[in-house]
Symmetry: C2
Subunit: 211 residues, 2 copies
């Protein structure tokens, strides 16, 4: 089973690596990081580069695509090379998925029209620009399209997807292998649970950054 994860300048690493860590373990998985050119691509903070191993065009019709998010999505909302790849891949895929603001790229490619979808909580409203119905749920499944919320939610999404592809027992095995028994030390993981002051301060920071 071909699984493609597109990388691009200023993506968020955990958006991509969470699902990778689950889906690469699927029986027969051929998981490939694809992009505009082969070689290292830097994350949003510049401190890490992941390697693109194949061009987008090398894998035009993978069975599964996982589009990660990051500050770099904004620069790609009119990039036809990326959006055309997503559009064509989606026509042939078994599963079309995103993590965080990767859903904005699905939206810009026309994949989310009329669908419930999610994204990083900071960018939920932006989904409506693409005809999607934003929901605050962590993992949103609509037929073969699955969108996940911010960054770390890709792990939950990928485990649910692994169960659909290879059965619940397999997904449980992967969960045990990656010892995913979360114990967050604080209760601040969503805007509904976090201190409202923190939510507002992040909103102000992001608004300034997005400009």
């Amino acid at each position: 089973m071909q699984i493609a994860i597109p990388l691009y300048d200023r993506f968020t690493a955990l958006d991509a690596v969470g699902p990778y860590e689950v889906l690469a373990r699927l029986p027969g998985a051929e998981l490939t990081f694809v992009g505009f050119e082969k070689g290292p691509v830097r994350t949003d903070n510049g401190r890490l580069a992941l390697h693109v191993d194949a061009l987008l065009e090398d894998l035009p019709e993978p069975e599964v695509i996982v589009v990660p998010g990051g500050w770099g999505t904004r620069a790609l909302l009119d990039n036809e090379r990326m959006l055309g790849w997503i559009r064509h891949a989606h026509e042939h895929s078994q599963w079309t998925t995103s993590v965080c603001t990767g859903s904005l790229l699905l939206g810009a490619a026309g994949v989310l029209e009329g669908l419930d979808a999610t994204s990083h909580w900071l960018e939920l409203d932006a989904l409506a620009e693409f005809g999607a119905k934003p929901t605050g749920r962590r993992v949103v499944e609509q037929g073969k399209v699955i969108t996940a919320a911010g960054v770390s939610s890709g792990i939950d999404m990928a485990l649910a997807l692994a169960a659909k592809i290879a059965g619940q027992e397999f997904a449980e095995t992967v969960q045990l292998l990656i010892e995913y028994d979360p114990e967050p030390p604080f209760h601040s993981g969503s805007p509904a649970k976090a201190d409202p002051r923190l939510v507002e301060s992040i909103r102000a920071f992001a608004a300034a950054k997005i400009g």
Copy 2:
């Protein structure tokens, strides 16, 4: 604050990228992926390469080290270049940490002598070979040494560490930014919670692989 994450052939990506995603956001963080040579280093399954940006010797005394695990740790248990780097870094560090079987490297470097420590559940017993006292807890703090359990536990560890370095409010902000409000679809994340059949089947597989 210098933060170094050593990479090596056949590491586990999420072990490194979970803590990276939290710690790179620390105020003034200079987080660097270090290794034996600069350039791409492949993960345990070969499907992903992360980029080493500096040699181990380029960062001899970082304030924080985070040693990830993976199948590749076994090959390094007598590698004096890695163990010597860990040993020297630990003498000068503010925090010496590991995720998953990264604790075996801390152990082989002599860092865990007499300390409570943890590792991936499959390799817990191996810690005793290095004079450590294995515990099944997810995050184990002993002075400036913090070990975390398997793979995904590095996220929990890094959030706890971020609070120690920059305060709880900062750690809560990061948790909100990475939307870490886990909703695992199954209850299989630890050997105590998973179906015992799965635990045994993984043990048998790992025993065959480690030989």
